[in-house]
C-alpha cells in the first residue's frame, strides 16, 4: 500500500503501514500537521482530503464534516487508518508563519557579526522556539531566529505530549525537538554570518516536559500525582553529544560547533526552567519588595517573591489564551483577529499583518470578551444576550463570507481561563501573606502577554485594577533569562539561589484556590 501526499503542489509517496493512523504516518515522514488534541479526534485540526482510497467514516469525521465534505473524502488524519493506496491532499497551513515573540525587556540592539566569541540562548516553548545569538564580549544580541515547535503534531499542550511519550512516541518527540533546534542553530549562524567555531556556550530553558523530551527522559511520572520529574537540576552536555544523530545525517554540512550545552534548572514538574530563567531575567533574587511574574499560557505558571523567599505555582488556564477550544480560535498567524472593539452591536476588528480576517487568536479572545462585557452583551454571570445566545456574536466575515463568531461556549472557556489565572494569583498572594499594594511590580511574560492590552485583561477580571500601573509586559523572559545566564557575572549562582528559595504551592486541591476560582468566574 502506498500513500501519496500532496501539499502545496508537491507530491511525496511513501509505503503505508496498516493499523497505523494517517496522522502517525505523516509524523513519521516529517510531514507536519497540527493536532492540538494529540490525535484523539476532538479538535478537528488535522483535516485532510483523501482524494482516492478514502477511509471509513468515523464518529470524529461526522462531528467535523458535512455529508458533502465526507463524500469528497475529507477526513481527520488521526482517526483515518488507510487500507489501500490513497492520495491525500494536505491543505492545512504548516504554521511556518506563526508569529513568535522573541522580544523581551532589556534586549539590546543587533550589531555586526564580527565578534571573537558567541553564545547562544534558546527558549523551548510548548508552541514555539526562539534561538538567539549573543556577542559574549559586548553582551550584545546579534541575531534571533524563531520557529514553531514541530512536536505540535503530537498535541498542543504538555499533557498530550506526555501522553504521546508514554505511548511509545518518546523517541519521535526527542528527534523532533532536536531536529528543530539543530536546524534553528544552523539557520541562526547562516543568517548572521557568525563563525560556528567561535560559539562558546549554549544555554537552554524550557518547561520541565520540554526538557524531558529533549533529553529523552521518561515522562511516565510527569503526568500523575505527585508529579515527580526525572531530573530538573542543571544538565550539561555538548553540541556534539546532543545532536549526534543530526550531525551524522548532515555530514559535511554540519556546523563545526564545539560548544558545551547547559540546560537551566527548574523548580518542579509544572514550574520549569523557563520560569526560573524568567525570575533571573526579572531579578527576583535582588529585590527587597516582592514582585510577581505571570506567564500567560496554557499552564499559567506564576511566581511571587523577593531575595528572601519565593512561592511558585501553575494553574490550568487551558488553551483559550492561544486560541484553543474557541470555536473560531487559531494561533497567532496572519489574518487572526487580535484587536476588537464593539459599538452599538457592531464589531470592528484588526488582524495580525492586516490580512483579511480568518479566525481569532488569544489576544482577540480577550478583547472580544472584554468588549462584550463592556457593551453589556454578556452579563456578569457570563451569559450572552438573548439575541446572540444561539448563534453567537458575529465579529467579522472571512474572505469566503463565512461568519467568525464568538459563541456562548467561547465565553465559558474564557471565564474558566481568566478565573484560573486570577485565582492562582490570589492564592499565591494569600500564601505569601501580601496584598496588591505590597507587590512592587508585576511582570507579564509569554508571547501572548506581550501583545495583550492590559486594560482589557483587567476589564475581564483576569488581573485586579490595582495592578494597572505596576504591570510590565516582559515578553519572552525565558529567552531573556538564558542570555542573562550566559552574559552576566555570577548568573549561575544567582539562578541556583532562585531555585533554592522557591517552593511550590499545589492548587488543584487547594480550598482557597477553588473558592477564588468560582468567585472570579464572574465578570464584575
Amino acid at each position: 500500500m502506498n500513500i501519496t501526499v500532496i501539499r502545496a503542489g508537491k507530491e511525496t509517496t511513501f509505503p503505508g503501514e496498516e493499523g497505523v493512523s494517517l496522522l502517525q504516518q505523516l509524523r513519521k515522514e516529517n510531514i507536519y500537521i497540527s493536532a492540538a488534541c494529540g490525535g484523539r479526534g476532538t479538535c478537528g485540526k488535522c483535516k485532510v482530503r483523501m482524494v482516492t482510497g478514502a477511509t471509513k467514516i468515523t464518529e470524529g469525521d461526522r462531528r467535523f464534516f458535512q455529508e458533502e465534505e465526507l463524500r469528497e473524502g475529507w477526513r481527520l488524519a488521526c482517526t483515518a487508518y488507510p487500507r489501500e493506496d490513497c492520495r491525500v491532499l494536505v491543505c492545512s497551513d504548516d504554521e511556518s508563519r506563526f508569529e513568535v515573540v522573541s522580544e523581551y525587556q532589556g534586549q539590546g540592539e543587533a550589531g555586526a557579526a564580527e565578534s571573537l566569541s558567541y553564545d547562544i540562548g534558546i527558549d523551548i516553548g510548548t508552541t514555539t522556539i526562539a534561538i538567539e545569538l549573543v556577542d559574549t564580549e559586548k553582551t550584545q544580541i546579534l541575531h534571533t531566529v524563531t520557529d514553531i515547535n514541530h512536536q505540535r503534531a503530537f498535541g498542543a499542550d504538555v499533557i498530550s505530549r506526555i501522553q504521546a511519550s508514554n505511548e511509545g512516541q518518546g523517541e519521535a518527540l526527542k528527534e523532533s525537538i532536536r531536529r528543530d533546534l539543530y536546524e534553528g542553530i544552523k539557520r541562526l549562524l547562516k543568517e548572521s554570518g557568525a563563525d560556528a567555531g567561535r560559539v562558546g556556550r549554549i544555554a537552554i530553558a524550557g518547561n520541565t516536559t520540554m526538557g524531558h523530551l529533549l533529553m529523552g527522559y521518561s515522562c511516565k511520572t510527569l503526568g500523575v500525582y505527585p508529579f515527580t520529574p526525572v531530573n530538573i537540576g542543571t544538565i550539561t552536555t555538548s553540541f556534539a553529544e546532543l545532536f549526534e544523530a543530526q550531525i551524522q545525517a548532515d555530514t559535511e554540512n554540519a556546523p563545526a560547533i564545539s560548544a558545551g550545552i547547559v540546560l537551566l534548572p527548574g523548580i518542579s514538574t509544572y514550574v520549569g526552567a523557563d520560569i526560573s530563567a524568567g525570575m533571573l531575567a526579572c531579578g527576583f533574587d535582588q529585590r527587597e519588595k516582592p514582585c510577581l511574574l505571570i506567564d500567560l499560557g496554557t499552564n499559567g505558571e506564576m511566581a511571587i517573591g523577593n531575595r528572601d523567599r519565593i512561592l511558585v505555582t501553575s494553574t490550568a488556564a487551558g488553551p483559550a489564551f492561544e486560541g484553543g477550544n474557541i470555536s473560531c480560535g487559531m494561533g497567532s498567524v496572519p489574518g487572526a483577529i487580535a484587536g476588537v472593539s464593539i459599538r452599538d452591536g457592531q464589531a470592528s476588528v484588526t488582524t495580525i499583518g492586516d490580512q483579511p480576517p480568518v479566525g481569532l487568536c488569544g489576544t482577540g479572545v480577550i478583547e472580544t470578551a472584554c468588549e462584550l462585557v463592556k457593551e453589556e452583551l454578556v452579563d456578569e454571570t457570563g451569559m450572552l444576550d438573548e439575541e446572540y445566545f444561539e448563534e453567537g456574536f458575529e465579529l467579522a466575515k472571512t474572505p469566503e463570507g463565512e461568519p467568525i463568531r464568538f459563541t456562548q461556549k467561547d465565553v465559558r472557556e474564557i471565564q474558566l481561563a481568566k478565573s484560573a489565572v486570577r485565582a492562582g494569583m490570589e492564592t499565591l498572594l494569600l500564601r505569601y501573606g501580601v496584598t496588591y499594594e505590597d507587590v512592587e511590580q508585576v511582570f507579564l511574560a509569554g508571547g501572548f502577554g506581550y501583545k495583550i492590552d492590559l486594560r482589557k485583561a483587567i476589564g475581564i477580571g483576569m488581573l485586579p485594577e490595582e495592578f494597572q500601573e505596576k504591570t510590565t509586559a516582559v515578553g519572552n523572559s525565558s529567552l531573556g533569562g538564558t542570555i542573562r545566564y550566559l552574559t552576566e557575572d555570577r548568573a549561575k549562582e544567582r539562578l541556583a539561589k532562585i531555585v533554592e528559595l522557591s517552593s511550590e504551592v499545589e492548587l488543584s486541591s487547594d480550598k482557597d484556590f477553588n473558592n477564588f476560582y468560582t468567585e472570579f468566574m464572574f465578570f464584575e
Binding site: G38, R40, G41, T42, E59, I159, S160, I162, Q163, N166, L222, G223, V224, Y225, A316, T381, G382, M383, F389, Q408, K409, R412, Q415, L416, E506, S508, S509, N514, Y517, T518, E519, M521, F522
Partner: protein, 211 residues
Amino acid sequence: MADVHEISEFLQKGRAKNVKALVEEALAEGQDPKVILNEGLLAGMMVIGEKFKNNEVFVPEVLVAARALNAGLAILEPKLIEVGNEPVGKVVIGTVKGDLHDIGKNLVAMMMKGVGFEVIDLGVDVEPATFVDKAEENGANVICMSALLTTTMPSMQLVIDELASRGLRDKYIVMVGGAPVNQSFADQIGADYYTPDAATAAETAKAAVTK
C-alpha cells in the same frame, strides 16, 4: 404557609439562608418532608441542572445553588429518615488516582444529590481499591469516576479491573467523565456510561437505577 415552590426559587438563586429558613418553617408547619424535598429542593436543582446543560448558567451558579441545597438537606435529612424516605440509590464518587481535580467531580456529586441520590464522596487521588471497598461498605449501586488529565484516565481502567478481579463487575453501574474522557474511551475500558456534563450524568444514573 411556607411555599415549597418558593424554596425551589430561592435555591435556584443560591440563597442558602432563605432556603434553610423556609425548610424549617415548612417542617414546623407539619408539611411532608418528601414533598419539601421533591417539589422544593430537588425541583430547584433540576432547573439549575437543565440550565447548566444548556449553557444558560455556569459553574459558579451551580455551586451556590448546591450550597443552598446542602443547607436545606442538612435540616431535612433527619426528618426524611424518620418518615422512611429512601434515596433513589447510592453513588460512590471520586477523582481517580494521580489526579487532584476537584470541581468537576463536585458538580457531578451535587447533581446526583439533586436527583435524589445519597452521595458518598471519596475526594481526589482515590486508589482503585478504595472505590470498590467504599462501594461495598455503603451498599452503593453506582460508581462514578472523574479524570481531568489524559495521563490519569488509565486509572479508570484499574477500577474496572479491580471490580472484575473481585467478581463484582456486574453488581455496579460504572460511570466515567471529565474533560478528556469520551464515549469511545468509555467503551474501550468497559464502563457502562459516559456523559459529557454533570446534569446528564445525574439523569443517566437515575434512569439506570430505576430501570
